[in-house]
Symmetry: C5
């Protein structure tokens, strides 16, 4: 995630960090160059049909509405993912507190809390499709080969609870509270897996990129009559807006990816470690800081 | 569901897998051909009235807004259906964990978990309106003739719980937890049945297809004056966008259907089997893999 | 509710079942006829001012956005109502299951379940404002004269629970579970009453119908210059879209009404009877089938 | 709230009850008169610049989108407020039922239920900022001077519960159920206070009224060229749509106000009295009826 | 937050309090001045290309939709933040009530309630990034140096609960209720931290400001042909709408900031103090009043 204040005037012109420009530079240049060639051909050979703007207006508005839908859907995925991780953080804090109330045995409490942090890192590792991750490696080396490592971590916590309930270490009220907390964690986990595993319907990507390119490629016919040599500039601006939005949308719809705009899972995991530190009798680590405006 | 990366340039031009083009090819050709005939008639006999664009702009914007609404509604159904299945997966995992805490008898636990997997397959079978389904057949052959097979599976689980509570095998806390879990499963189940049984209001389909065709059929009158022989091309593009979106919308609004963009219920059922395997003392099966980009 | 597949080509042209056309035929004809008269007057006496399209574009877009808002609000009401009834169905199923776990006395269970079906029919009767309803009549004849019959049915269930708890037939865990289930039913009930009793603000209806008619009545001035004798046709199409959408919106905003697009409450009540039959030791009735595509 | 059927043709033309026209008549006349003066000046002295429509189209669409946002936000507030009161009604009914199950002492039950009705009236009084209200006066005269009367009413109920739990009149299950019910009431109460105390950001009101007036004042320059003496009529229509929507929005965003479109809190309080009457052993009062289509 | 009635006519023209005008005055002047220079150059040297409006219409509509999305997202953040604080207020009231029922020891109750007020002030201090805050200083001086002061306050409450449960001062029902209440507080707290710590994706800010400025800078080319010397005025109006909306959006997306439109956290903290006063046996303080229309 990019952590940066409102862009100031000069930043607007030059900021590249967090911009989509680098990602769409190539197709943008292609579209502009093609528009230039079309104007050139029209100027010398008059072969380009000059179309009035009405169909382009309707086409452009339909495309805008469609991009706008996709943008909403992508942002909703990104924000829902953030909500789920915020919920996980709250769940871990509440787990620690409920353990303190219901589980008198400190060793049990510490074992469960450490396991819950291992779960969080394993969950992050799975969502980001990391193959080697130092934190996951060091916290739960024996779970990495399991079919579903984060679930295994939760199963271990659950086994501890079951054993403690069977042995009378925690009472019925505690068992109810703590299993409900675990179920709440499992629900957030399944929500994240849903977002990570179910992309926006592919058919939208096809439809949107096809129509965006079609629009940009045909636009010179509508502009050349009035704009002349400025046509490539206008085509470039329109293509920048539409392709830029399509690209942003693509990035945000994968909130657990490795792009600059993806969610700062490392920082949230660290926040969880800070929150659990007092319950583990440890000193809290420092919060993660953005690196060149980027919080990983 | 189509699992595929962002389409690259050449894929944009040629990808057919997951595209709506094959589904709308016929009406698209019809609309384009008709536009061609209209231009021809206009060219030779001058019988086509040339209309200015304003009514088409308003008509086109109204139609875009309407398609946009239907698209939102269809996507919401698709995404809500996916959420409900994600919730079912989380519920099954939590059921397994809560059983471990509250039900000391392993045989009871295994019986309930196997039944819950049978429920999931029966539920999938019902939503997809399958008549013969190998998984459902092998897991619950005796339930298939019931008036409502998935409900029967849940009733069996419930009877086990009732019997265990009556005999003191599970305590009051366990009975509360486990019946609440069952109720949560029943709520997600009813949600899926709601989506499967209540299509988008038919009146929308009529209105939207009627106005879309009307628009495409009348559009040549607005374009022929300025676009001439290119008219069929532009009509084709506009029809592609509008009919394509209407078709996508139609598919997504049936998230449990058999189209390429329908939800991967087989894969989610498999994910549930993987998650429950350790609780059943079984080896986890492999996750389902996409076949030619398609996850069933 | 209309249950029908995606309309095919010839159905698009002729389907009347589920269409709004019959409901708006009269005002549609009126608007078209007036447009014809205006063109006639303009042709013979030249009295009609010819207006350029810009104000109509802005007006048309504002009106489209407004209709689009109302459509969203109406559809949300319709879908929320459907969700509430889906929730009621799930609640009744869970009530039956929880009774089996927590209430050992079969006579008590049957009494409560029969009463809950009576509640459902009384609730449907109230929402649809029926005065005589065979099901309600036969299931709860003594409650029909009460100030609030569905509440009376729930009160009877509750009195049974209170008596059973006082006499020790159900324990504290059961009392908690079953009163919570009843509260969940009461919440869905109040939600339905809210939708049935609180129409969309009347001021919207006035504003939207007034502006729609104004738009259609003034439109000939914008079109007559370019469209000539086709003006009534275009006015008719625009009026069809706008009046049609306003009418659909009106119907869907009353999801418990008696229109073809209203919710199939009879069918959902039947689904509840099917679900509760095994718990009552009865044979399940058949599901309701659509009659001429209409499910009541 | 206005309770009225879909407006019929003649009502559309003349209905004033529930219309916004009376509220915006003055500014509407002002804008139309100014447009008339501008046309006059243009006609005689030719001093009015004639602007092409493009900037007005963009301006008009931006303004429409903005009004549409504000309308959505206002309607959401209105509908959320209605949902909260629907929830309060369901909570009161469930409170009565849970009391019957968990509190054997009838005197305690009656005291709490009467207090809960007092709470509802005090809550209504606070939301509507009434200083003297007969119902609140007669039901809880001693609470009116408290810093927060509705909270005081809930505190009294809570004190009764605390005392009953301490004395063993209600058991732990009952205490859990009843305090949870009270918390649910408190949540709905805080939601209503939030809506009543937090208006839509003032900056929106400024921005929207400023741009709406600017648009209406500049519009004659775009219309005078083509519409001539009809300009004031068109300006009037556009101003009617935009100012009307802004006014509706203003009213709905204050759902607890005293406008005709505000929520019928009196009627909902009466519905609560009807629902609690059988639990109090009283005869139910009659439901409130609309007065000249208005339900207060 | 600005607390002010609907602006009246003269206020519309002159109100500055709560307006965005002061924040965008500089760029607004810059854009207008540049437009003036461009018209001047065009008038004297004819160097400005005159572009037809179609590309600007499409550009303007795309930009409007985009601004509209960002506005929705920002308002949702603001309103969600307000909801979370409303929920915190309700939670604190319910905490006080549940303590009265479940915790017989008054000293314990008072200690927890005072700590919960300290939590609220610490939470406010953290969200607003205040370094010195009189309330937080006086209520919890020993927590200010902790890694996460609000969490520390909740941990102290939790330690009290754990100790009381261990010593039998509160029973299992109370422990369940009170830890659930604490978890609900922690969830709202994490929600606020999420909003405060996760700005709207920076890429949107870049894209939106870049395209807004591009639009305003190019607009003179579309207007100069028809509007002549009025071009700077129109450019100014369009820039006012677009930059104004972008600025409003920027402010509302930081609901815990120090701008005039930020949430009135001080007033909500005071409302909590008023609500808890009777439970602490204290006299309630006065509610905060707006200062020059501004409630802090």
């Amino acid at each position: 995630m990019i952590i940066r204040d409102k862009p100031r005037a000069w930043e607007l012109a030059f900021a590249m960090r967090g911009s989509v420009l680098p990602h769409i530079a190539l197709p943008l240049l292609g579209v502009v160059a093609l528009a230039g060639v079309m104007v050139l051909l029209d100027h010398h050979f008059g072969v380009l049909p000059h179309i009035e703007g009405i169909p382009f207006t309707v086409f452009g508005i339909a495309l805008s509405l469609f991009l706008s839908f996709r943008n909403n859907a992508a942002y909703d995925r990104w924000w829902e993912a953030r909500k789920l991780w915020g919920g996980l953080l709250a769940d871990l804090r509440s787990l620690a507190r409920e353990l303190e109330v219901f589980a008198p045995d400190q060793a049990l409490r510490h074992r469960i809390l450490l396991q819950s942090l291992a779960f969080l890192h394993l969950h992050r590792r799975q969502l980001r499709r990391l193959t080697d991750d130092a934190e996951a490696q060091s916290r739960a080396p024996e779970l990495l080969a399991d079919p579903h490592p984060p679930c295994s971590a939760l199963n271990l916590i659950n086994a501890d609870l079951a054993q403690a309930y069977a042995s009378g270490q925690i009472d019925g009220f505690g068992a109810r509270s703590l299993t409900a907390r675990l179920a709440s964690i499992a629900l957030a986990q399944a929500g994240c897996e849903r977002i990570a595993g179910t992309p926006l319907p592919f058919v939208y990507s096809l439809l949107i990129y096809r129509t965006t390119y079609l629009f940009c490629l045909l636009l010179p016919m509508a502009l050349v009559g009035s704009s002349g040599w400025l046509t490539p500039l206008f085509v470039g601006i329109v293509a920048y807006v539409f392709l830029g939005l399509a690209e942003v949308t693509e990035e945000l719809s994968h909130p657990f990816g490795s792009t600059l705009n993806a969610l700062p899972l490392d920082a949230i995991c660290r926040a969880a470690e800070i929150s659990l530190a007092p319950h583990l009798g440890q000193e809290a680590p420092k919060p993660l800081q953005p690196n060149d405006f980027h919080l990983s």
